[in-house]
């Protein structure tokens, strides 16, 4: 179990597809790859892997935002700049380290990219990085107090913003 969780999923799939056991398995005397389906099942059910996959998908969504064209909203929304996308991906990594779980990453009709969170009882939050490099957050929802602020997406420590999110979602 520990060995499985310590390996990236693509490595597990590669190892399972190999005909012979690689050296790392030979070194673990109490472990064998007798039931590959069971291992895949473990990896898919693990919250660790679910989170890894989720953030991979979010990162890919941020990259995909680069393919949106001007007017993608059906009107005249600008496309996200490369800088806003790259800063969004960097911010995603910090969010992951902070233990938060965004729901989606999408282009913003104001120009830029946004990271969305869905909380309980209709609570919603957006972290938005604009094409001009500014960044802001908003936590809102019908019947709830609205919390807003600005932040520097390149700041090393975004604990204040992340704490607000985790406390108010």
């Amino acid at each position: 179990m520990i060995l499985v969780a310590a390996l990236p999923q693509q490595d597990i799939l590669r190892l399972l597809s190999a005909q012979s056991h690689p050296a790392i398995y030979a070194q673990a005397s109490n472990f064998s790859v007798a039931d590959s389906e069971a291992i895949l099942s473990i990896s898919h059910e693990s919250s660790f892997w679910k989170r890894e996959l989720h953030f991979q998908q979010l990162t890919q969504a941020a990259r995909n935002a680069g393919s949106y064209e001007i007017g993608w909203d059906g009107y005249d929304a600008p496309k996200p700049s490369d800088d806003s996308i790259n800063q969004g991906i960097a911010l995603l990594n910090k969010i992951k380290e902070a233990g938060l779980s965004p729901s989606s990453v999408l282009p913003s009709a104001d120009g830029g990219i946004g990271i969305s969170f869905r909380g309980q009882n209709g609570r919603r939050a957006l972290l938005e990085i604009s094409n001009d490099g500014s960044a802001s957050y908003a936590i809102y929802g019908k019947g709830h107090p609205r919390l807003v602020g600005e932040f520097s997406p390149t700041a090393a420590n975004l604990a204040v913003v992340f704490n607000r999110l985790s406390e108010n979602l």
Binding site: D73, G74, L106, P107, S108, A109, D110, L126, R146, V148
Partner: protein
């Protein structure tokens, strides 16, 4: 069927409270039936010129909500595969929005209102504008926090537009 063209008609400034305002929404920004606020532009869509405010179609002059997807009302673009149509009701447009967070000396409040701005091939074209509550009907650029509140409200209140069910009789 083509949307109603202006054909020399001037605008009709009177909106019935129950009139619907149709808005195109990209499928990419609908999550579990809910519109992500990132689909709504707030920074550039309030202006002293009502023609530059948030575009919608008023139901009084549409054959169907699908007019919003027809090229005559969508700047010549075919959006039928990438966008759907949603709506809000005129009487639900928010009134009395305040700067957020509240400021001690500010007693200003802002109202949203619908303004009819026909296009030559799309008579139903209208906009959602903002005015100071003391000067109804005079479009202004409200403070950023009021713009953001509108965006959050709009995304939360947009409802899917559907064709009326056929009468079983």
């Amino acid at each position: 069927m083509s949307p109603q063209a202006a054909e020399g008609r001037s605008e009709n400034p009177t909106f019935a409270p129950e009139e619907l305002l149709f808005r195109r929404v990209p499928y990419s920004h609908i999550e579990d039936g809910e519109v992500n606020a990132l689909a709504i532009a707030s920074e550039t869509k309030f202006d002293p010129d009502p023609k530059k405010c948030t575009s919608v179609l008023r139901s009084a002059y549409t054959e169907s909500f699908l007019d919003a997807l027809r090229t005559d009302c969508a700047a010549g673009k075919d959006l039928s595969k990438t966008h759907t149509v949603m709506h809000v009701t005129v009487s639900d447009l928010p009134k009395g929005l305040e700067i957020d967070p509240p400021q001690k000396d500010s007693r200003l409040r802002w109202d949203m209102y619908a303004d009819h701005n026909p296009l030559p091939l799309c008579y139903a074209h209208s906009t959602i504008c903002c005015c100071n509550e003391k000067e109804p009907g005079k479009a202004v650029l409200p403070p950023p926090s009021v713009r953001k509140q509108f965006r959050e409200w709009f995304a939360a209140e947009l409802r899917p537009s559907k064709a009326p069910e056929a009468d079983p009789a």
